[in-house]
């Protein structure tokens, strides 16, 4: 029992620390990447290649003067950023980072919690994540904040539908398990879920962009119309928490996409490679390799998020709603219907 508690605590702490570290360095990479795409340097002064920039930014956020508007609802105003970052980190508990390690006959899963309702848990955590934005926007008592909050939550509710339905299609073709670890394990045979669920992945990717409030769907913080959106009134580290949570969201959804559609810690000819290297399945070395593979995939997805942001212009609000309700929702339903028919002919669904 003690061993179990210690090992789970270590993994939980590691996931927490990695989420925060990646979120911090995503801000650096976002600027570097934007610089690359726009033919300029990006941050270059703090440390080599500007690598100390996130620390400098964090320090700046911490020591800035903190302003809480007099007319705001003080308790909720302070609560909102914390709530937002908690829900952002919570989704990370599901991700199976590496193949299980077997030590003395005991199997240790490299995952904080393997829920048998993992996919639904993921959807409910993302839908509860709206509260941080809504409460923050409302408690600021500022019309721009309120408008930004309402936009953000309307957008998240709308895109959750298409996201959920594309996930149902994924679950049907991936063997019917709702557990994240099972979905990743089922892709061991070599074919990742991206092959049978290509359209599902496209829909899921667009929805993930909208759910994380990233460009081209970042209407919640559209500077030209809404000043700063829902965090207009926030300053110092509370603003920092909001920005941080957005990067954590991006990290988690990248990891989810890499795990659901691109095989997670599996890679082509994994077993052959392990055999050639003389590594036994279940050893620590295999786990480390698997983790590195998964992490690389996640980082590639984070870069794709940034690539999209610095390439596409922002949508108009009615275009956003039309895309969500009139294009993505019917397409995801069509994808679901086709998946069901195909799976019936393959004999995976029986009555």
């Amino acid at each position: 029992m003690e061993v179990f508690i210690i090992y789970k605590s270590v993994i939980a702490l590691a996931v927490f620390a990695v989420s925060l570290g990646i979120a911090a360095y995503s801000t650096w990479w976002e600027r570097k990447f934007a610089g690359l795409l726009q033919d300029r340097w990006g941050p270059s002064r703090a440390g080599k290649w500007g690598l100390l920039q996130p620390l400098a930014d964090g320090g700046k956020m911490l020591f800035k003067e903190e302003i809480i508007p007099n007319v705001s609802n003080r308790f909720l105003f302070v609560l909102a950023p914390g709530l937002f970052i908690i829900t952002a980190i919570m989704a990370g508990v599901l991700i199976p980072w590496a193949p299980s390690v077997v030590i003395n006959g005991e199997t240790y899963a490299m995952q904080v919690a393997d829920l048998n309702v993992g996919v639904i848990f993921l959807l409910s955590v993302t839908s509860v994540g709206v509260y941080g934005i809504m409460i923050g926007g409302w408690a600021s008592n500022n019309k721009y904040s309120l408008l930004g909050a309402i936009r953000a939550s309307a957008q998240m509710i709308s895109y959750e539908l298409a996201m959920g339905i594309s996930l149902i299609a994924l679950i049907i073709s991936a063997g019917g398990s709702l557990s994240f670890a099972d979905i990743v394990k089922a892709q061991d045979a070599g074919i990742a879920n991206i092959v049978p669920q290509f359209f599902g992945f496209i829909i899921f990717f667009i929805c993930a962009l909208a759910e994380t409030n990233r460009a081209p769907f970042d209407l919640a913080e559209c500077e030209t119309e809404l000043v700063g959106g829902y965090h207009t009134e926030y300053s110092a580290f509370k603003l920092g928490l909001f920005l941080f949570a957005e990067y954590i969201n991006m990290f988690v959804s990248s990891a989810v996409m890499a795990g659901f559609y691109f095989g997670g810690y599996n890679f082509p000819f994994a077993h052959e490679v392990y055999q050639a290297l003389g590594l036994a399945e279940g050893s620590i070395a295999v786990s480390v390799i698997g983790f590195l593979v998964y992490f690389t995939k996640t980082l590639i997805f984070i870069s794709v998020f940034m690539w999209v942001r610095w390439t596409l212009p922002r949508f108009r609000y009615d275009q956003l709603m039309n895309l969500g309700w009139k294009t993505l929702l019917p397409l995801s339903l069509l994808n679901l219907a086709i998946t069901v028919v195909v799976e019936i002919f393959r004999g995976n669904i029986t009555f």
Binding site: L115, S124, S127, V128, W138
Partner: protein, 178 residues
């Protein structure tokens, strides 16, 4: 611990919190606070489902009630900008009427629950009764007909909501011409 198991402790704490937050929903003056307390109440109820081994129900409860329905509530309240200042003053007579009706409702509830302590509680099933696999098997096998009826009912409600929410084209076009 004091002769109770951990499950009993959890049940007690969750029940206390659920009732507390439920009371706060009614007593808070600010509608937004009411909604937020209601969300907390739903979380407590989801905890009760977990204690009953119904993981699927618990997660769906959070996704649907806390994640979707209450967000819409919050949405409407924020858009209407209801707060303490705009709350209408209630007259004495409406308070009396509300008190009488609430009291009668309490009487009905107490009357309905009378004698329920003599009912035998049957513990059936096993710890995996709430898994999606078992739930789906029961739902789509034994209770398929009620399930289909409910889905038709929901579809009817959906179509009705769209019909009500739909813009009426002709009068709007006429009013634009004027």
């Amino acid at each position: 611990m004091l002769g109770y198991t951990i499950t009993q402790w959890l049940f007690g704490i969750l029940a206390f919190m659920a009732i507390m937050f439920g009371l706060m929903v009614v007593f808070s003056r600010n509608p937004v606070n009411s909604v937020l307390y209601l969300v907390l109440t739903f979380f407590c109820i989801a905890g009760h489902y977990l204690l009953l081994n119904a993981q699927f129900l618990a997660v769906v409860h959070i996704a649907v009630y806390a994640g979707a329905i209450m967000v819409l509530f919050l949405f409407v309240i924020m858009l209407m900008n209801l707060n303490q200042d705009s709350e209408p003053q209630r007259t004495m007579i409406s308070k009396v009427i509300a008190g009488v009706i609430g009291g009668l409702l309490l009487l009905v509830v107490v009357g309905a629950l009378r004698g329920s302590e003599q009912l035998a509680i049957t513990r059936y099933g096993h710890s995996e009764i709430g898994l999606v696999r078992n739930l789906g098997r029961v739902l789509f096998d034994e209770y398929l007909f009620p399930f289909e009826i409910v889905s038709v009912l929901l579809l009817a409600a959906l179509v009705g909501a769209i019909m009500i929410g739909k813009k009426e084209d002709r009068p709007l076009a006429e009013s634009n011409q004027e």
